[in-house]
Amino acid sequence: MRNRDITPFLFILLITALSSWITFAPDNTWLGRDVSVRLGLDLQGGTQVLMKADGIVDSEVMSTAATVIERRVNGLGVSEAIVQLSGEDRIIVELPGVKDPEKAIETLRGTGRLEFIDTKGQFLNDGTVVRTSGNPDPKLPQATLDAAAADPNNPVPSIDPVIYQSITDGRDLDTRQVALRVATDSVSSRPAVSFAFIGQSANDLATFTAANIQKPMCIVLDNTVVSCPVVQSALVGGSGEITTNTREDAEKILNQLKYGSLPVSLSIESSRTVSATLGANSVQASIVAGLVGLIVVAIFMVVYYRLPGLLATIALIIYTIIIFAVHKLVPITLTLSGIAGFILSIGLAVDANVLIFARLKEELRNKRSFLRAVEAGFDEAWPAIRDSSASTLITSAILFLFGNSFGVSLIKGFALTLALGILLNLFTAVVVTRTFLRMVVRNESAHATWLYEVGSDPDVSEQPAA
């Protein structure tokens, strides 16, 4: 072994050792860092929604909305969730592994605007949708519309045109004072959420209740009447509470109020939900497919290219270890299409080696010395490897941008893995295989021609001796 090869060899050894350490780290912890594989929605189950703001909004409103949703997501206790702005008026939310996706999404996108309204002495039924001065143009829930549409005798439902005056402003809700209260006494066993207004709203509420004792006043959440208690005495301090039938409902309201109200209402443009069992099945299938693919390619390489094929297979294993280490360390979320991209990149990784070995064989046939044949093989294959890698990188980049433009993380995963595979493959094919080959051919015993299968390609007779 000469000096020229020692440095790259040690470098390869170092990289491989480091990558193996990360890839096979016990308990998925590496230097105190969590390096467990992050699985995408299609592999571990979960839900993804693309939400669009209703009406025209500016970027400040959207970033506030994203912050509020992010806080609510944390309140739900979903780990590894993603909340991301997309374009001018969209938010992408990904909730991996969430148990009840419908409930979660409902909680996230409920506006959470809490109001006291002046009903001029009228009682309103719970669940009635009303216009308020805070939001005079609410939408009826879809369930109401569907029910009405199913029965042609019913008139098309519409919201009472009366606009009730809001006494409080949702922005004056003191989020620190929002709390869940589960009564333990038998008198009121229903769960409730207590809250308090501050500032101008608290003053207004005190003034209004003082003037309207023994009259009803309604609490409205997102334009739906929650309850209409009768004012017993002036409410000083602006506090009140909402009772609910179930603890889940109470928790939903708690989450919406506690993390602030959304500055804009959001409708759902697209959604994708995958169950955990389907995801687990996909993981199993992908692991089997990946292993089978690797083994078959390895056998082919060794049978067809002999010694160089064996070295290329070792390089391929190193490649696989490094790519896993990168996924775990960055971390890059592993999706089903990402795995397909990885398995496809195995084929590409081999391609660079195939190009080099084909050249190597030609040089050996031309009776070059082994050392010079190895060098010439790499040098002459390089332009083709470079140009073809570049063209694949270009399309990966376009795929990535495309995936980005409509929020499909599945396509992005594929593009990212493919691009990463090509870059790494330049390293493994050009540095790793080359160093191995150089070191091996210095050894006389590795010069037997059967190790290289030089003989039989069709163009030998057509190649005039140089």
């Binding site: 369930a143 169950s275 083709a384 795929l399």
Partner: protein, 316 residues
């Protein structure tokens, strides 16, 4: 082995024979677009306690209809989960409501559970009209952008060879060949077995594009190199033929390894990405063919300006 270039018109005709039936299907029936591009919702439901014989497409469609989803298309099949056979239904409907999709899902699942016992929603995707419209636009932009970027790159990379623009154009034509083959096969499979064109399909198509160019570049690189060491009396046709023969083992071997890995994915990789893999297989085989039998031959046609003789030859 001179015939690889000599018989170029035979190879072109074989390409046409493959492309034309697909093109006819494409013209007659178009592509069957999935919800990614057409909008709508796709429900994958598992009926845990039922056999496929207990289910009926009309009954399930009626449950959907009663909950506001008219004209639901239902497909029933058996799926193996953890070794147990489970009845499954894939239902395609219009997209979920933008304002209250959560309640819609609960209504449907409640209604189905009432009728069939435990129902699991394995997956549900819903794509609204704005998103699907944008997806279609982005898809067109992505494919055109990829073509343009590759044309520019090829022209730059081959700027030392004479007529670099030709290399770009011929690689692009070979790539177009593969796009046509893939679209044709997708149209035929859409008609025959209901293969849907979705975001995965687009991913596969763009991968085919890049692999096709990848293969062509390897051949063109040889031509570039052999042109630089041109010997006396060698025609352009000789050089091209020689270059193709030299790269043939590599083209076939790379093709083989890709087919190995794709077959592994097809056989073991699970149903979700099966369409992606089928399209990739078709595209890669077409890509290898076009890079061996079309791309470099087009360079020769261009070099000889053979189109000037096309009609005269027929007259003679």
């Amino acid at each position: 082995m001179k015939s690889i270039v000599g018989l170029r018109y035979v190879w072109f005709i074989i390409s046409l024979v493959v492309i034309i039936p697909g093109a006819v299907f494409f013209a007659l029936y178009g592509l069957r677009t999935g919800i990614d591009f057409a909008g709508g919702a796709l429900w994958d439901l598992h009926f845990v306690t039922k056999q496929t014989s207990d289910l009926n497409t009309d009954d399930i469609a009626n449950v959907f209809k009663a909950n506001g989803f008219d004209s639901a298309q239902v497909q029933i099949s058996a799926v193996k989960i953890d070794g147990k056979e489970v009845a499954s239904a894939v239902v395609r409907t219009k997209e979920l409501s933008a304002t209250n999709p959560e309640q819609q899902q609960r209504d449907i699942l409640d209604a189905l559970t009432k009728q069939y016992g435990e129902v699991r929603r394995e997956s549900l995707q819903s794509v609204g009209p704005t998103v699907s419209g944008e997806a279609t636009r982005s898809a067109a932009i992505a494919v055109l952008g990829a073509c343009l970027a590759i044309l520019i790159y090829m022209t730059l990379a081959f700027n030392k060879a004479p007529n670099p623009f030709r290399y770009g154009m011929c690689a692009l034509l070979a790539m177009l060949h593969d796009v046509l083959v893939v679209l044709g096969v997708a149209a035929i499979l859409g008609y025959a077995i209901g293969l849907e064109v979705d975001a995965y399909f687009l991913t596969a198509l763009l991968t085919v594009i890049s692999f096709s160019v990848h293969d062509t570049i390897v051949v063109f690189d040889r031509i570039r190199e052999n042109l630089a060491h041109r010997r006396a009396g060698e025609t352009f046709e000789d050089i091209v033929n020689h270059s193709i023969v030299q790269t043939l083992p590599r083209s076939l071997n790379t093709q083989l390894t890709s087919i190995f890995t794709l077959m592994a994915l097809l056989l073991f990789g699970g149903a979700t990405i099966q369409n992606l893999v089928i399209i990739l297989l078709v595209g890669l085989i077409s890509g290898t063919y076009s890079s061996i039998f079309n791309a470099a031959q087009l360079l020769v046609v261009w070099e000889n300006r053979e189109w000037q003789h096309w009609f005269r030859r027929q007259a003679a």
